[in-house]
């Protein structure tokens, strides 16, 4: 992991077949086929070594990109959970426990966001 810190290893690694890998692999294959077409060669049958190499490079980049993406989303989730934990007053209970609902009233979105002036 070149650009991932050590703590990222706690996360479950993506499978070999993952969304980004498949997409980048397909993009690499499309690039190789476009290269064939632009050089007036049969798109699918020519330059198989090039097609294989481009698919592999795309797959490789996609795998590491998925790892990076997982880490980024995990840090965001961690920061969000930490904020919720430190500011419980902003996240009152919906009303399942009677004690909490009586003390801290739930705010609706209308009270939080700016006033709405419909122009119809």
């Amino acid at each position: 992991m070149g650009l991932l810190p050590d703590e990222a290893k706690v996360l479950p690694p993506p499978g070999i077949v993952n969304r980004n890998s498949v997409w980048f692999g397909l993009c690499g294959w499309a690039t190789a086929m476009l290269h064939n077409s632009l050089n007036r060669r049969p798109a699918l049958k020519a330059g198989l070594h090039r097609q294989a190499l481009f698919i592999t490079v795309g797959w490789f980049i996609g795998y590491h990109l998925t790892k990076f993406e997982n880490y980024k989303y995990a840090t965001l989730d961690r920061d969000m959970s930490e904020y919720i934990r430190l500011h419980p007053e902003e996240f009152p209970d919906k009303g399942n426990s009677t004690w909490k609902s009586s003390r801290i009233p739930l705010k609706t979105f209308a009270e939080i966001v700016e006033p709405f002036h419909p122009i119809r």
Binding site: A46, L53, V57, W59
Partner: protein, 105 residues
């Protein structure tokens, strides 16, 4: 006036008008009289030295699909295999690291 012998032709020279661009597949070959002489004079040894970096129109040829560049194809397939091996190794390392750090193994 210089003449141009196309590969695969019957051997009869094909005489072009000066300054006309002849298309050969994806490569353009300038008719000789249209090119200024000093350029050719500067590249006196290009037929022996500079084949990788510049293509002298006097010795250029169309890429021949019936004679594949085995070195290049072999390198491409080799690096493909290396990349897949690297990927699988990295994945197994990641799985092992994950299991060790979370105490699953």
């Amino acid at each position: 006036m210089a003449t141009l012998l196309l590969p695969g032709s019957s051997g009869q020279p094909f005489i072009q008008e000066p300054g006309k661009v002849i298309e050969q597949g994806a490569h353009l070959v300038w008719e000789r009289n249209a090119v200024k002489m000093p350029f050719g004079r500067l590249l006196l040894r290009t037929s022996t030295v500079n084949k990788m970096f510049s293509r002298n129109s006097f010795i250029a040829s169309k890429p021949d699909p019936s004679k594949p560049n085995m070195l290049r194809a072999g390198l491409a397939f080799g690096s493909t295999a290396v990349l897949w091996a690297l990927l699988f190794k990295q994945h197994s390392t990641d799985v092992h690291e994950y299991k060790t750090r979370n105490g699953l193994e």
